[in-house]
Amino acid sequence: MGGVTVVATAIAIIAFVALSPEDTTTLEHTDDAVLASSGSLIGDPNAPVTLVEFGDFQ
């Protein structure tokens, strides 16, 4: 019976991981060197706030 419980628990954990909504809603930090060297940066590379826009041209 102990084995069955372990298996059931394992399945429950796998199911939970598979079904849980994506929790990666934050964007990893883009360092300043990447910013300054990017051709797709609009504005002053030294501006205090960076707004990142993900776009599709269509």
């Binding site: 990666t24 964007l27 051709g39 609009i42 707004l51 826009e53 599709d56 041209f57």
Partner: protein, 152 residues
């Protein structure tokens, strides 16, 4: 909301009040998901970017958008946009022919997927997804909050 609508409307207002005054910059990253022409247009914009003409090229592309995957952003048209933008065309052609920025476009797309992006435009401020209505007032509040956090 459509990227072109945003870029030519709310985006221009953000640029006038915050970007032109040096308080905000906008890092445009690629999440091509609508079709092949999305990918080529993204590469072309980066080829313009290496000639310091990203912004004007982007605006030219958006102004000339009318439908998806109908040849609007064919290589020939993307090249014409380059001419309209005043690019050095030898450099642009080589850039496009060698897919110079395809790795960058792919890496942007992967970063977007990792961050849960599903559609465009999607906006992040200090790493947080702040995408909201296509309304300048909404983004203005978000930007002011970010500036206030800096003590500025």
């Amino acid at each position: 909301m459509h990227c072109a609508n945003f870029a030519l409307g709310t985006g221009q207002q953000i640029i006038r009040e915050y970007v032109d005054t040096g308080r905000v910059n906008i890092l445009y990253r690629h999440f091509p998901f609508i079709g092949d022409e999305s990918w080529r247009a993204a590469e072309a914009s980066e080829c313009a970017g290496e000639q310091d003409r990203f912004k004007v090229y982007q605006e030219t592309v958006f102004v000339n958008w009318n439908d998806a995957n109908k040849g609007n952003y064919s290589d020939a048209n993307l090249r014409t946009f380059g001419e309209m933008t005043g690019l050095l065309m030898n450099q642009f052609d080589e850039c496009m022919d060698t897919n110079k920025y395809l790795p960058k476009v792919e890496s942007d797309r992967q970063a977007a997927l990792d961050a849960g992006v599903k559609s465009t435009p999607t906006f992040f401020l200090n790493g947080e997804n702040i995408t909201g209505p296509d309304d300048y007032g909404y983004y203005r509040v978000k930007i002011e909050e970010a500036l206030a956090k800096l003590g500025g």
